[in-house]
């Protein structure tokens, strides 16, 4: 199984600021994925982070609000920009292992915007 580490695990952020979440995988993967889980809700896919190209965003998510970097095959960052209380969520990084088509998640980054 893949081991995925995320930083920070939790943070309290001021309204209007931006925060970058890091995701590190213990093996090389082609694509990494970012999900959002709003309080009491299910998970929603934000975007797919591709190495060497721009991220692909799902409907309702835009690059200006959630810029993503993917500098190599084991690392990605998601920035939540100009935060408002509505951005208070758990943000999760995930990867899919080709062998077994199994999808693994990081521990999540729990952001609270005040």
């Amino acid at each position: 199984s893949a081991v995925i580490s995320q930083k920070p695990s939790r943070d309290i952020c001021q309204r209007g600021t931006s925060l970058t979440i890091q995701c590190q995988v213990d093996s090389q993967v082609t694509m990494m994925f970012w999900y959002r889980q709003q309080p009491g809700q299910s998970l929603t896919l934000i975007a797919t982070a591709n190495q060497g190209s721009e991220a692909t965003y799902e409907s309702g998510f835009v690059i200006d609000k959630f810029p993503i970097s993917r500098p190599n095959l084991t690392f990605s960052t998601l920035t939540v920009s100009n935060m408002s209380p509505e951005d208070s969520s758990i943000y999760l990084c995930s990867v899919e292992q080709v062998t077994g088509n199994t999808i693994y998640f990081g521990e999540g980054s729990w952001l609270t915007v005040v």
């Binding site: 694509m31 994925f33 999900y35 889980q37 809700q41 299910s42 998970l43 929603t44 896919l45 797919t48 758990i90 999760l92 995930s94 990867v95 899919e96 077994g100 088509n101 199994t102 999808i103 693994y104 998640f105 521990e107 999540g108 729990w110």
Partner: protein, 115 residues
């Protein structure tokens, strides 16, 4: 678009008993994958079990098994010999075979285990 529905917001079970969590999905695809994830209070998403749609045999993982009914588009999770550590939110998720890494989740079912 694919949708996943978990009609039980909450379920409870006595320790050592068996409980079944329901999940239905809607898709026009013939090939896909289905998953059950467990999310304890720590918020970590833990894979419980996985099923390939092309396999008729139901997946099992120790005390966890599924009842996969492809024609009915149903994918229920059975937990046998429930333990206190099974208490968590359980999510059913769908992945089309052509949508690498992209999951569509159900709304989740909170499972409480009573000692």
């Amino acid at each position: 678009a694919q949708t996943v529905t978990q009609s039980q917001p909450e379920m409870s079970v006595q320790e050592a008993e068996t409980v079944t969590l329901s999940c239905t999905y809607d898709t026009s695809e013939s090939d896909y994958y289905l998953f059950w994830y467990k999310q304890p209070p720590s918020r970590q998403m833990i894979l419980v079990i996985r099923q390939e749609a092309y396999k008729q045999q139901n997946a099992t993982e120790n005390r966890f098994s599924v009842n996969f009914q492809k024609a009915a588009k149903s994918f229920s999770l059975k937990i046998s010999d429930s333990q206190l550590g099974d208490a968590a939110m359980y999510f059913c998720a769908y992945r089309a075979s052509t949508s690498y890494g992209k999951l569509t989740f159900g709304q989740g079912t909170i499972l409480t285990v009573h000692p």
